[in-house]
Symmetry: C2
Subunit: 123 residues, 2 copies
């Protein structure tokens, strides 16, 4: 899982980390500020922040003893791009989706499709 998208998805697969991003959406925050809503230790937060930073989802600066975090949304653009490829699978009703696929299949009758399973038609 060395690819960027996998790292991003893995970073997002934790509710604590998503909550941190949500908070950062309303502005920079220090580590303590980010930790406040949770009942876990500071080192645990530090680890979460490291995961987010490693995924490029946050950046950090220094200000006195504080290390303010800032949201970096570029990887989310990548996520949005990926998921967009599947939009047609949920944005159309089932029947319209079937019709769409049938049409696509008909249009690509240039080559032969190796469909070895029968199609079910129980509506």
């Amino acid at each position: 899982m060395n690819d960027h998208l996998s790292t991003t998805f893995a970073a997002l697969a934790d509710p604590t980390r998503r909550a941190i991003l949500a908070k950062l959406a309303s502005g920079e925050a220090s580590v303590s500020e980010l930790a406040e809503p949770f009942s876990i230790s500071m080192p645990a937060i530090t680890k979460h922040l490291k995961v987010l930073e490693n995924a490029g989802l946050i950046s950090r600066t220094r200000s006195a003893q504080f290390r303010p975090c800032k949201l970096e949304a570029a990887p989310l653009k990548e996520v949005a791009g990926w998921v967009e490829e599947y939009r047609r699978f949920w944005s159309e009703s089932f029947d319209r989706l079937e019709a769409y696929l049938a049409q696509v299949q008909a249009e690509e009758h240039t080559g032969k499709k190796k469909k070895k399973h029968k199609k079910k038609h129980k509506h």
Copy 2:
């Protein structure tokens, strides 16, 4: 990690599983067909499919000895909805983003809204 969104993100955080979804986007496929592009064992594929099924990203039927898989995109809609909340952080330049935020804040205080802006976040 018992929340649906975390399960979905975790399922997507693996290139093999995303490749399986990509293949299923062009139609149902049997386990062997899905395994073909990869150099990993069949049991490994079975496990990946179980992760995807558990996340609601695929469904399975029976056809003779085959257990065809089908893409189920509903969880992806959820992902798209989540990431959409962050669109403004990448779709505008920084300066315009600042302006946008200031404007939204002002509108929230006056009770007017020019743009739909959801605020609820659940994890």
